[in-house]
Symmetry: C2
Subunit: 244 residues, 2 copies
């Protein structure tokens, strides 16, 4: 009995170690990317709220500045009178009390801070990507690369995927529509945003296939901690796609 | 022609003044309450994200601390080792790098700041409510009072409503279900949260009717800038509902 309980204790210990080892760096990327997506939604909805509110007093600013980050930064850094001088000298907006303006500035500051938070996360993902998937980062860029890893679930699963699956990652909806209704199959998923594919004109499908093929090699090399080969690949592809 | 253009100019001027005067303080309450609702959603979703992420390294903290604000404050103020000592000495959580922990702390700080922002907005609404709707604030509390104004659209529209409408504000869905399908009519909307109604046991409907009647009087008095009568009302109702 005593032997048995020692065995049990040991096994428990070992399981705990294994669970704790299973937390890999690619999981961090998955979490960070999900948080970035959430932040994008949050920033959008909060900026809209501030715009609606602030437009009571200075609708011209809302109209002239389309970028949310710039809009919030303006409100949080310049005084109301400065903004009025700059954007709407004869504004129709109502006069608000100092209290109202103050709380709007507070909200704008909070949103600006959250924008900075998002930038930090993007940088963090970049650093991680360079470390755990250097080849993918070089060839696809850290943002598209991270999307691929998130969609696959982990770098291991991405490494096990055939190139054609990598080509379609992010286009699941169109792919299943194709399988179900016989509509035209998608030619590319996330990699549509890659400069090669975006610039390819009518041969997007072909370029996407070649790129996915190379990315699949990169994923395998990165997963098995191989050398850096992506810069050479990138040079070759640069040549190839320039000629066409 | 010159006379005509002068007239046009004058009319434009006058319209601008009227538009700018139409921005009343109750509009500020509407905006602030909408922003508070948005912030509640935001805080919820961001906290969930952080919980999911942080649970990789210290699942015990996620389990033990249910309140989102407390959870984020703990992560943003205590070091990882302190948290580990306090919540999970033999944690199964994986070991994260300093970088990972740092970004989690940043997110926790950001969420904590956003919680503070929300508290500021709640205070702001309270101040406004005391100024533009002192009687409603005394009788219903600033939070329920603000909800009533937001739902009515403005203090003017709330003042014009019959008591029975005020009683139902916030229960529109149940009311229309009643009208459409003949289901039982709702007895109360937002005022269900009022201490009188909440404590009323089986006579919730009756208490809600009496309260809505008094609130309707308060709304009229507040809109026409009358005296403070709500403290007397409150005393009467306190007596009345205690007896039952």
């Amino acid at each position: 009995m005593s032997n048995f309980s020692i065995l049990k204790e040991r096994l428990m210990q070992e399981t705990k170690v294994k669970i704790s080892e299973a937390v890999g760096e690619d999981l961090m990327i998955v979490q960070a990317m999900n948080t970035i997506d959430e932040l994008n939604k949050v920033l959008n909805s909060l900026s809209k709220r501030l715009r609606e509110w602030h437009a009571y007093t200075l609708p011209e600013l809302n109209h002239d500045v389309e970028d949310n980050e710039a809009y919030c930064r303006l409100i949080s850094t310049k005084s109301y009178d400065e903004l009025k001088d700059e954007f709407g000298k004869n504004t129709m907006g109502g006069k608000l009390s100092d209290e109202d303006i103050e709380i709007q500035i507070d909200i704008a500051k909070n949103i600006t801070e959250t924008f900075k938070m998002k930038d930090k996360l993007v940088l963090y993902v970049e650093t991680l990507m360079k470390r755990i998937a250097p080849n993918i980062s070089i060839l696809a860029g850290s943002s598209i690369g991270a999307r691929l890893i998130v969609n696959a679930g982990s770098i291991k699963r991405l490494a096990m995927m055939p190139a054609s699956t990598i080509q379609m990652l992010g286009a699941e909806k169109a792919l299943f529509r194709h399988l179900k209704t016989g509509a035209r199959p998608p030619k590319h998923g996330f990699i549509i945003n890659h400069p090669y594919v975006a610039a390819a004109g009518n041969s997007k499908g072909k370029v996407a296939r070649i790129l996915a093929d190379k990315l699949s090699q990169c994923a395998k090399i990165d997963f098995f901690k191989g050398d850096i080969v992506a810069d050479k690949m990138r040079k070759e592809l640069d040549e190839k796609f320039k000629k066409e």
